[in-house]
Amino acid sequence: MRRGFASDLHWSDVTPKEMWLNRRQLMAGAGVLTLAGPAAAKIATVPSRYSTTDAPNSLEEITTYNNYYEFGTDKSDPATYAQRLTVDPWAVQIDGMVDRPGSYDLGNILAGVTLEERIYRLRCVEAWAMIVPWIGFPLATLLERVAVQPGARFVAFETLMRPQEMLWQNHAILDWPYREGLRLDEAMHPLTILATGLYGETMPKQNGAPLRLVVPWKYGFKSIKAIVRISLVEAMPQTTWNMQSAREYGFYSNVNPSVDHPRWSQASERRIGAGLFGARQDTLMFNGYAEQVAGLYAGQDLAVDY
């Protein structure tokens, strides 16, 4: 029986970072490698042609300015409160219209995957922006491996529900667990990645460890964190912010400077880390990825399908 790419390997079988760092030090000590040092102590990735050439935000900015309401509504909350989250063991339930449904250990998902560095613009619906050097792989590769069935039209995602560790799940500020969704063609687009790290390191917990979605042409809340379930479905799935306020957060939520959020303009954005003066810049259609993704929406009125 075909079991897809499932193996006996578990996420916990991955060599701990301390160990492989140590190994590099030994090699450097033996004079094998002259590249040793911090620069070499990174997850092995290949560069991507989809990366922007803009300079990324600092690691500190990326890891201390987060919207992750499971850990609090203040942007500094996740950096503090996400640290209690257990991310190992971690399994993702893949179900719905796929040939090989099941609970996949994260180690299985990552086995044989080529990790790429994708330096992407990130645009929050709150009109601020960052540049993040993600590490990840195209969602399409995972979807191809579980074999999506012809009737599937949407992909639904769910975040972990664990109120003992995600303390704000005890408060009904949102309808937990956090849910997001993409149309299948959006999910299969090469820009859409599942990210497992950033800045050459495994994903910080406040950024959505151990596995999160990154869809760079959509507002940040579409890029769901700490994913435990991926379902291939026929009908457009419910999504958390849309359930909270459908008028404010559409299913598509493509970055679009000409379609305002009812409570604020989307025409421009503030670059985090750009200082007090001159941080505001024009927002680009599809967050600057129009060339790659505009075709997905041919014939759609984006003011209606916001």
């Binding site: 900015e61 300015y65 500094s76 909270q244 409570r263 303009s265 503030r270 007090l276």
Partner: protein, 205 residues
């Protein structure tokens, strides 16, 4: 008894030190900007703290009358300072929004001022504070006469309502802090309504 004791004590405390004391939080903020310890997004910290302070001084000013009615402690001598400090922080908050947040993008500022309910409310609140600030001097009291001057000062109630609402509808989800401020503001306004009703027949007599 103890209220009189406090009032006697306060007779020796002038109002003017409130101004430098009230501007201390601004000095702290300026120092934090200078050394750069406001985190990854200093603009929002500045904008929000100035807004918070404006609302705090506004609510503090509104506490003066109920405090007298309920306890007999009279702080009316300090209310002008509280009001002017509120106006100072509201002005700084608005200035921050125009110069540092929107960075003089006038078309976007114009769009915000006509389309965004929370911006409109904030602006109405500020507009209501302007005549209060302009008449917060002895000359104005004398020129307008105490009755008309009092009427002008009632704009504070409108300002309180719209400013508390401005803060409440700004958040994406219901969070405790704006709800708390809104509740306090509504309570302080409700005390006025109760007071007006109590005083109405007396005025008719």
């Amino acid at each position: 008894m103890w209220a009189r004791w406090i009032n006697d004590l306060l007779r020796r405390v002038p109002a003017w030190p409130l101004y430098p004391l009230g501007m201390l939080p601004f000095a702290v903020l300026a120092w934090q900007i200078a050394v750069g310890n406001l985190g990854p997004d200093p603009l929002k910290v500045i904008e929000h703290r100035l807004g918070d302070l404006g609302l705090q001084f506004l609510l503090a000013g509104l506490c003066v009358t109920p405090l007298r009615d309920l306890t007999g402690v009279v702080l009316i001598r300090y209310r002008r300072a509280l009001g002017l400090l509120c106006f100072a922080y509201a002005s700084l908050h608005l200035t921050t929004w125009v110069f540092l947040d929107l960075q003089l993008r006038w078309s976007e500022i114009g769009a915000d001022l006509t389309k965004r309910p929370y911006i409109i409310l904030g602006m109405v609140g500020f507009a209501a504070l302007v005549p209060l600030a302009l008449t917060s001097n002895n000359l104005s009291v004398r020129k307008l006469g105490p009755l008309r001057w009092k009427k002008v000062q009632r704009l504070a109630y409108l300002a309180t309502f719209v400013i508390a609402l401005h803060y409440l509808i700004l958040a994406k989800v219901w969070t405790v802090k704006p709800m708390l401020y809104f509740a306090v503001a509504m309570l302080l306004l409700a005390l006025r309504v109760v007071n007006l009703r109590r005083n109405a027949p007396a005025a008719a007599r």
